[in-house]
């Protein structure tokens, strides 16, 4: 828990933040609208005898009172997918339309890729890419269980993603849910911070910059790129976006979300660095805000 102390200067109500990080996380599922309406998913959970509560910010996200969400008919039928509540935020921020072509650069194990497909009514293409073959098999398992027919799964290093095997040569949108130091998942996995080091933060930030740059390059003018991590470190969040603002033609835009989701703005100063004032438009979601895990989300518009 000690590495979190470095965030005392930027986190509002730091003691509440610390206390929330020490509480275990509840179980949340996302309704998979490719297979079932919210009403049908809820009716099936009720038949399973499972109590639920709809998330205030998104009626498709349900908080369940059970320790085994996978052993339910709702899960077996693919009506719901177990997913941390805040990890459902980036696809909602991306807000794709049916028929569009979307790049999910780091897609495994597929919660967000299938959520993108559902938001697109399973029409169009989600190129679900990941560099790790083992995690890709989990992605494919989830995609098939959830009945997504609009996914094209690729196995590449996103930093130099090639369109060669695909018919498309540009994406309408991209999601970069980057590999990160995962500080925001401490409630789910209390050992997350055991291997934390500032060196690791900096090395993973280098990878994040490479992936985000390639995603911006691969997206058409006027298209949107959403960058997200489940960590608090500005080195992996604002600094990565700043790097791409400097290197590519894009800008940070406002996020339009349900007001019931509480968050703090992105930071513009950290240690000896300052970031563009537009980074205040990014979202910092802390565990004490909505009783969830932690997340960072920034929305970029390309070439505008």
């Amino acid at each position: 828990m000690e590495p979190l102390e470095r965030y005392r200067p930027i986190v509002d109500d730091f003691e509440a933040f610390r206390a929330a990080c020490e509480r275990p996380l509840g179980i949340a599922v996302r309704v998979n609208t490719i297979k079932a309406s919210v009403e049908r998913a809820i009716a099936t959970l009720e038949h399973d005898g499972i109590a639920y509560e709809q998330a205030a910010w998104n009626p498709r996200v349900l908080r369940l009172e059970t320790d085994s969400p996978g052993s339910t008919w709702a899960s077996f039928h693919g009506f719901v997918h177990t997913q941390e509540e805040v990890s459902a935020v980036p696809p909602v921020v991306l807000d794709p339309e049916p028929g569009e072509t979307v790049f999910d650069a780091c897609a495994a194990p597929g919660g967000k890729a299938t959520q993108l497909a559902a938001l697109m009514a399973d029409r169009g293409t989600v190129v679900a890419n990941d560099s790790n073959l083992g995690r890709l098999s989990a992605l494919r398992f989830n995609a098939e269980r959830l009945g997504a027919t609009s996914l094209a799964v690729t196995h590449q290093d996103a930093r130099n993603f090639s369109f060669a095997p695909l018919a498309v040569d540009q994406f309408d949108h991209a999601l970069v849910d980057a590999p990160c130091s995962c500080e925001g998942t401490i409630r789910k996995n209390p050992t997350t911070l055991e291997d934390w080091s500032e060196d690791h933060v900096h090395s993973v930030a280098g990878i994040q910059k490479g992936i985000l740059r390639r995603a911006v390059q691969a997206t058409c003018t006027g298209g949107t790129v959403v960058y997200s991590t489940c960590t608090f470190a500005p080195e992996e969040n604002e600094a990565v976006v700043q790097h791409v603002l400097d290197a590519e033609d894009c800008r940070v835009v406002d996020v339009d979300l349900d007001p019931n989701l509480e968050y703090a703005p992105g930071v513009t100063e950290w240690n000896d660095e300052t970031y563009d004032s537009s980074l205040e438009r990014a979202l910092r979601i802390y565990p004490h805000h909505n009783d969830t895990g932690g997340f960072f989300v920034a929305k970029l518009e390309v070439g505008a």
């Binding site: 996978g70 339910t72 609009s150 196995h155 095997p165």
Partner: protein
């Protein structure tokens, strides 16, 4: 002429030909044949798949894709697997049946709650069925509507669950 035809390339997605006459790869099913199978066997109307294309990767493994049609590609997956064709009896996948089986009007066996639970756990069970033998869609009632569970094989008064090991659950 069969000996003019190419052989299937296992690592690559190739779109199914429209009809058997358009076939350039030996043994490959056509879109027409796939739609006929779903209609003849299960009563699923061909219009169900108007916006989908069908692809083969691996001998006889047919995939259904709802996106824009890319050229033949060496990628990991395209949509979802839906059908096995290069065997005596074609066999739909559990995941396809869960997604599209609600359009079926034939060869659907309706299970009680207890039977459905055993089926989802992968158990075989003795059952009366006066329809065709072979691959069936097992379904149960969810909130007043029929919901497909997966593929069953009915033979000799027994319904065998074809739910893959990784998909079985104790419910």
């Amino acid at each position: 002429m069969a000996d003019d035809l190419e052989t299937n390339v296992g690592q690559q997605f190739d779109r199914l030909p429209a009809t058997d006459a358009d076939r350039t790869v030996e043994g490959r099913a056509s879109r027409e044949a796939v739609l006929e199978y779903f209609e003849d066997r299960f009563g699923i109307p061909p219009e169900t798949f108007e916006e989908h294309t069908f692809w083969e990767k691996g001998a006889g493994k047919i995939w259904i894709y709802g996106g824009e049609s890319p050229s033949p590609a060496e990628i990991e997956a395209l949509g979802m697997t839906c059908l096995r064709t290069r065997q005596d009896h074609w066999k739909p996948t559990t995941d396809f049946v869960q997604r599209f089986g609600r359009h079926a009007t034939r060869c659907v066996v309706d299970l009680s709650d207890a039977e459905a639970t055993r089926f989802a756990a992968g158990e075989d069970q003795s059952l009366e069925w006066d329809g065709d033998w072979g691959y069936l869609i097992a379904a149960h009632d969810v909130d007043g509507d029929r919901e497909p569970i997966g593929v069953g094989l009915y033979l000799h008064d027994e319904l065998r669950s074809m739910i893959p090991k990784g998909r079985r659950r104790s419910l």
